[in-house]
């Protein structure tokens, strides 16, 4: 067990970091906001943590915390800017925001280390910290998916117009979602650059958008648990797929495409669907055996209706 743990430490760490990154896109998606700003926040968090750790040698809590703060503010400002957009247009605007940050990092000169990036961000952050933060985040999100607040977010996703007429402040929910997504992305990015001790512009590219999105789609977009399933599947898939060797990427593509076409609810949706059906069947089986009181069926409904003064059979079309 112990040797297994140490030989797979990098994979275990990246599972939790991918989980947080996936959440930064799942949280907006749950509220019906198609935003990839979380990937941009990942860049903000990664660079903020690396810069603060290398230049000021601050504690990891402060370095990551500062990144989270900056990214949350950036998310709020972005939400104000893109308030008019929705759907694919919002997706495109936020993708270009995220990729623009990547180019900005390449051109940052001394501060961001240019195209080579920064290295030597050595800190006291351990895997335990990452796990604790992830569990905490998962608990908070699980709580937010229950009760009145969870239903309100559901309403915003399913029908924003209806939600407004029910008295839900849709704009505020959307803005909040951007802030939370920024914080989550920055947390993932900061922890990643401190664990790996390096960060470079290549970390933030189109591929990161694709990775985060595929995790959520395959896992399930409507709950934090879907992001968790997706993170586990896509972090461990390459080591499981070693037997297909060079064709790993092809299998990966087929999995994503098949999930998008046939299982739009993701693995989580599939499991929930099965569970729901099983529950329904379990409830129905004892009812068949029991002798339920059967109401008297009127011998002739037509006559009764006529007695009540209803329309006669001839009058009906």
């Amino acid at each position: 067990m112990n040797s297994w743990y140490f030989s797979h430490l990098v994979l275990i760490q990246s599972t939790f970091i991918s989980f947080l990154l996936a959440l930064s896109i799942q949280v907006p998606l749950r509220a019906g906001v198609f935003s990839f700003a979380g990937v941009g926040s990942y860049a903000i968090g990664a660079y903020a943590a690396a810069i603060l750790t290398i230049r000021a040698q601050v504690a990891p809590v402060l370095a990551i915390g500062a990144g989270i703060l900056v990214a949350a503010v950036a998310g709020w400002l972005l939400a104000l800017l893109v308030a008019r957009l929705s759907g694919l247009y919002l997706g495109m605007a936020t993708i270009s925001f995220a990729l623009f940050l990547g180019v900005l990092a390449t051109n940052g000169g001394e501060l961001t280390g240019g195209a080579t990036g920064l290295y030597g961000a050595i800190s006291t952050l351990t895997t335990t910290h990452v796990v604790v933060v992830s569990v905490l985040v998962a608990l908070l999100l699980a709580a937010s998916e229950r009760g009145a607040y969870g239903r309100r977010v559901d309403a915003v996703r399913e029908d924003p117009h209806l939600a407004v007429s029910l008295g839900i402040d849709v704009t505020r929910v959307r803005r909040r979602v951007f802030v939370v997504s920024g914080a989550l992305g920055a947390c993932a990015g900061g922890m990643n650059s401190l664990l790996r001790t390096t960060v470079s512009p290549e970390t933030v590219g189109f591929h990161l958008v694709v990775t985060a999105l595929t995790m959520i789609i395959v896992g399930g977009a409507l709950s934090w648990a879907g992001a968790a399933i997706g993170a586990v599947v896509f972090t461990w898939l390459p080591s499981v797929l070693q037997f297909v060797g060079e064709w790993q990427l092809v299998v990966y593509g087929v999995v994503v495409a098949a999930a998008a076409v046939w299982v739009p609810g993701g693995l989580l949706g599939l499991v929930q669907d099965r569970w729901h059906r099983w529950q329904v069947r379990r409830r129905r089986i004892p009812a068949e055996g029991a002798t339920a009181p059967v109401a008297d069926v009127p011998a002739d409904a037509e006559q009764q209706l006529a007695a009540l003064g209803g329309p006669a059979a001839e009058a009906r079309p």
């Binding site: 990729l99 998008a260 739009p264």
Partner: protein, 296 residues
């Protein structure tokens, strides 16, 4: 100066060929195909494989590119996008599933090309067509540049005319306005969608082959960069507007060339992203796009 303008026009023509089909599909049948870049690369790559075996002239290589592009695009439409549109309960969910499905499918041909080439750039050095350059005094022009310019502007003109004047073009535009009303008026949506996707794929294949001739060789990863640039061109001009795509592609190529010439060039990739972001904030319908009518 004249040379820079000519280079910008050639680059713009390549963007135009690539973006034309995407814009057409997005503006009419509502499909934003993320596998477009992958189709583009794979068509160029298939032509490369064939040229390695048989020394073909330029028209044959172009035909192979167009054919492979069209077939791939049709396959994507039939195997992925049609089932999604058939099953999806509402429009927004279908849009997103199509986006994700496209991203997933895009990985497959790209992975095959990367595996076969080991990510080394490939070209058409075995082709019987030779790139030659003429010196016109103020600028140097290659025969590939001329073919690209004629193909891009000619095809954009033909498609623009077809959409405006021909009956099927009218039907296609009707789908773009309201798909359900269009099918009530007797428009065969499925057939027109297949036609649009085939044309889009063929144009992508053409762009792929021409780009490979123009640059000498391309790497399989070129598709992603082109995809994002095509978005910028489409959004700049306005989704679904043919004149808009022409304008968008040329303006984008012009700005990029200007930045490349006047600065060290490290900012060049940011232009497309900046254009997308600013346009969506200031004028989401693009420079020449029609005003969207929302009734909800």
């Amino acid at each position: 100066m004249a040379q820079d303008v000519l280079n910008a026009l050639t680059l713009g023509s390549l963007y135009l060929l690539f973006a034309l089909g995407m814009s057409l599909a997005w503006g009419t049948i509502g499909i934003l195909n993320f596998a477009h870049g992958s189709i583009f690369v794979f068509a160029a790559f298939s032509a490369h494989l064939l040229v390695q075996e048989v020394s073909l002239p330029l028209p044959a290589v172009l035909a192979v590119g167009v054919l492979v592009g069209a077939v791939l695009s049709l396959l994507v439409q039939v195997l992925a996008f049609e089932p999604i549109q058939r099953r999806a309960t509402d429009h927004r969910k279908a849009e997103m599933q199509i986006l994700v499905g496209g991203i997933g499918i895009a990985i497959i041909p790209l992975a095959v090309a990367q595996y076969a080439t080991r990510s080394v750039p490939f070209g058409y050095s075995a082709s019987s067509f030779r790139v030659s350059t003429w010196d016109w005094g103020f600028a140097r022009v290659s025969n590939v540049q001329l073919v690209t310019l004629v193909a891009a502007f000619g095809l954009a003109g033909v498609i623009g005319w077809w959409l405006r004047a021909a009956r099927p073009g009218l039907a296609l535009r009707a789908i773009g306005v309201d798909a359900e009303v269009a099918s009530m008026m007797g428009v065969d949506r499925r057939r027109l969608a297949l036609l649009t996707m085939a044309v889009a794929g063929g144009l992508a294949g053409l762009a792929g082959v021409l780009l490979t001739y123009y640059l000498g060789s391309i790497a399989p990863e070129t598709g992603d960069a082109f995809l994002l640039k095509a978005f910028a061109a489409i959004i700049l001009g306005g989704v679904g507007s043919i004149a808009g795509v022409v304008l968008g592609a040329m303006v984008l190529a012009g700005i990029e060339t200007l930045v490349l010439v006047t600065t060290s060039g490290t900012w060049a990739p940011a232009i497309a992203f900046g254009v997308i972001f600013v346009m969506l904030l200031v004028r989401p319908n693009g420079l020449l796009g029609r005003q969207e009518v929302r009734r909800t």
